[in-house]
Structures are given as C-alpha cells and as structure tokens.
C-alpha cells in the first residue's frame, strides 16, 4: 500500500518537474552583436511610494519612497546620460500621474519605459488584472508615444501577448536571457533574468518586505559595488549577461549614485561592454536565437 503511494508520488513529481522544465527554453549558444562580449541591462523599478503604501507602511516610509520620484530618478537619468548608456525604467501606471515630468525626461533621454503593474500588484481576478494592465499600457503610451513591450510583473503570459509584450524581466532560471512558455506551450516571452543579489533593495533598505527594523540591512556602497563588479566580471569572461536592478528611492541617494558612477565607469574601461535597453536585448535574442515557432 505504502510502496504504491510512493511510486505514485515519484511519477507525479517527475511529471510536474518535466512539464515545468519544458516551459523554459535556454539559449546556451547565446551570442551578442559583433564586438559585444556582455550585455548589461541597467534597470530601475520606479515604484516610489507605491509598494510601501500597498504594505500599509506609515507615512514617513512613504516619504522615503517619494524621494525616488522627487530626486532619485532625476539623479539616475543624469548618471546614465553622462555615461551615454541606455536604461530601462519599469514604471507602474500610477507613476504617470504622480511624476509625469520625470518620465518625460526619461523618454527625452532615449531610455525605455516598461510596465511595472498599475500600483505594484497583479490582481487575482482575471477581469481586474486586465483592467490594471490596460490602464497601465494606456498611461505609459500617453507618455512615450508607443505601447510598452516589456514588463517586470507576474501578469499572465497570454494577457501580456495580447497587449503586444515580448519580454519580461523577473526571476532567474538562467543567468542569460531565455524563453518562457505557458502551460499549453504557447504565449512565449523572452525573460531577461534579474536576481536579488544584483538588486539595490537587498542592501540599502530598512524594513524590506515587512522585516523588522532590527533586521535592517544597510550596506556600505563600496561593498555593494565590489559584489556587483565581481558578478559583472564573471559574466564578462563567459560572454554573458547582467541585469542590475535599482530603485530610485534607494540608489538615488548621493553616495550610491557615486558608487554606480564608478561601477559603470569601470565597466566601460573593458572592450565589448554593451548597455542596451531591455527591448534591444529581447529583439536581438528573438532575431538571432528565435523562440519556438509560432509562440512569440
């Protein structure tokens, strides 16, 4: 009796693992455009106070988030422009109403604006989920003049494809860009993986994701710069990919901007470092390493 149950568990778990693996297509032979050894996506999650608000944090926590819209995003634009690099700003639709001037400056400088949900959450109800995505697409389009093609969210792949999205930047099943498909094997999206180790919030935030103040993590920017440089350099050596996730309310602080300035400057001293937008990376992959036919 017990033995039969165990065998059944083996079958079920194996089948689940196989099905999950089949929904991912890695690109082991990934190559970049002529002369490029590594693609670095500088990405910002511009949620300002929205997530703090969603978690019912007190007003002064929201005030920290507001710093990202009032100051941080402007410093980051200035930093990227000074280095002549392109970034991707994952932007909740609601930010279009709160910080329109900053977003226009992002567009003006040629950076990409991508989706980051309406107010930093994906509703469980499918009708409401579509409402949030549609509202966000419309709001971003009004600022940029065209619909977003990338997202950092858990919106369903079918819905994203319906609205013209081609890529997502979330989670990290591989260190290089790869493709994801839905349960039916369709609705492909390129994933430009980001990892929390290369996320400023892991190092610079009090009370991250509901932790107590006593669990605060404030790291010396120099140390963060060292960790990120090591990650960059390892990927540089293997011809890979790096996605740096920054929050304007965290990385927009002066010392951290200075650290990023040194880090980007140091990356640029090596030959073959490409700083494209996420859309550019996705289009390159789709063109050079196509996904399964008819999925994207």
């Amino acid at each position: 009796m017990t033995a039969i149950d165990l065998d059944q568990q083996l079958v079920e778990l194996r089948s689940a693992a196989d099905a999950y693996a089949a929904r991912h297509q890695f690109i082991p032979d990934l190559t970049w455009p002529e002369g490029v050894r590594i693609a670095v996506n500088l990405t910002c999650d511009f949620d300002a106070m929205l997530l703090r608000r969603l978690l019912n944090e007190p007003p002064m926590q929201l005030a920290k988030g507001e710093f990202g819209g009032r100051v941080g995003i402007w410093r980051l634009i200035e930093l990227f422009d000074a280095h002549g690099v392109k970034a991707t700003i994952f932007t909740p639709g609601r930010i279009c109403e709160l910080y329109p001037e900053a977003l226009r400056a992002v567009v003006e400088s040629g950076h990409e604006i991508a989706d980051h949900m309406w107010e930093h959450r994906v509703p469980k109800d499918p009708g409401l989920e579509e409402d949030h995505l549609a509202k966000t697409v419309t709001a971003l389009e009004r600022i940029t003049g065209r619909g977003p093609v990338g997202t950092r969210s858990s919106h369903s792949a079918a819905l994203l494809r319906q609205y013209g999205f081609i890529c997502r930047s979330e989670r990290s099943a591989d260190q290089r860009p790869y493709y994801e498909y839905d349960e039916g094997g369709g609705n492909g999206l390129a994933n430009l993986p980001m990892h929390y180790v290369i996320d400023d919030a892991m190092y610079f935030n009090f009370n991250w994701l509901g932790t107590d103040a006593s669990a605060q993590r404030i790291t010396d920017p120099e140390r963060v710069g060292d960790i990120w440089w090591a990650a960059f350099h390892q990927q540089y050596n293997v011809g890979g990919y790096l996605n740096v996730c920054m929050h304007p309310f965290q990385s927009g602080r002066a010392l951290r901007i200075a650290m990023l300035d040194r880090l980007i400057g140091k990356m640029k001293t090596l030959p073959g470092v490409w700083f494209p937008t996420c859309e550019q990376v996705a289009r390159h992959c789709i063109d050079r390493h196509p996904p399964r036919a008819g999925t994207l």
Partner: protein, 195 residues
Amino acid sequence: MPWKKGYTISDERSLADSELRWPDGAGCCVAMTVDLSVASGPEGVTADLTTPEALFGANQGLAALREVLRRHAMRATFAVPAIIAHIHRDLVRSLTAEGHEIAAHGFRHEDVSGLERDEERQRIVRTTEILADVTGGKPAGWFSLPRQGDRYAVGAVSPNTVDLLLEAGYLYLGTDWPTIFRIIGSATSQAAAPC
C-alpha cells in the same frame, strides 16, 4: 491635487543638485541634530526618564557632546520634547544661550499617528508654549524622530501633522532621514508654502 491624496505630501521635483546654493559660496551644508528624547516606545517619554542612561544623557553625556561642539565652534539643533524642556529647564535654556537651536520634538515624543485632530492640535500648541517659555522664542522646527523600539526607523506622523504644524507657524518638519523637506501642505488641503 486629488490624485496625490494618500500618496505624496512632497513636491513632484526637488531642486536639482546643480541648482543648490549655500550662503557665502559654501560647497556643503552639515546640519547636526541632537535627539534629547529618551523615549523607547510609542507612548513617548515615560519611566525611561528614571534610568541610568537618561541620567547620563542629561549630565555627563550632554556635557561631553557640548564640549566637542564648542571646540569646533559648531552649532547644533536640539530636538527637545516639551516634557524634557519642562524638567531640564535651565539646561535647555543654556543650550539656547550657547547659540544652539531648540526645535520641538513632540509633547513627550509620543506616537501621534492615531490621534484625533483636536488632540494632536492641543499637544502641538502646548508643546510650543512650553518651549517658547523656556527658550524665549517659538521653535521654528518640529521633529518626529524614530524611537529604538519602533517597527519602522522613520518617525511617526499623522495625516493631520503637516496641516497642524503649518497652522501653528512651524517652518519645517525634520525627520530621521536626510530629507528635511519643505512643507507644501498635506494632500488633504492645499496650504500655501511658507518657504
């Protein structure tokens, strides 16, 4: 601006770094804030006052700090709860005499986030009176610094705090974070910017 209500109480954009100017061509401004509260929880200063640490802070600790400030000819801003000014009247007065700024730090550095508007107003008015009586002038700034036992290291305000501070004639609200932001009125009412 109704779309900002419940989301933001500050300007959409600050001065750019390149636009910032200090008097006499100074390249940087260093402001020192000294927290004279001994509160550890949301109720504000309580029996914390009768601890060895509180006694040290009011005597040798503060004296040593003042000596350093004096040696470097530096002035600081002391965030003082009304109850502390009431108990250590001469001490606080002597700080004013040395050129330091005395700013308000609540009636007893209590958590005001759940207070009724009228009660918070009364506390602000009484705090202002006590500090003005001790120092000889109304304080210009109001602080709400975090306490060591707080869940969030940011300091607590209520939805009415900014409005009530404007009404009471305050010029700035200081927080723990390096953002002494310009009060532009809360999201609930469009009060004029005082500075």
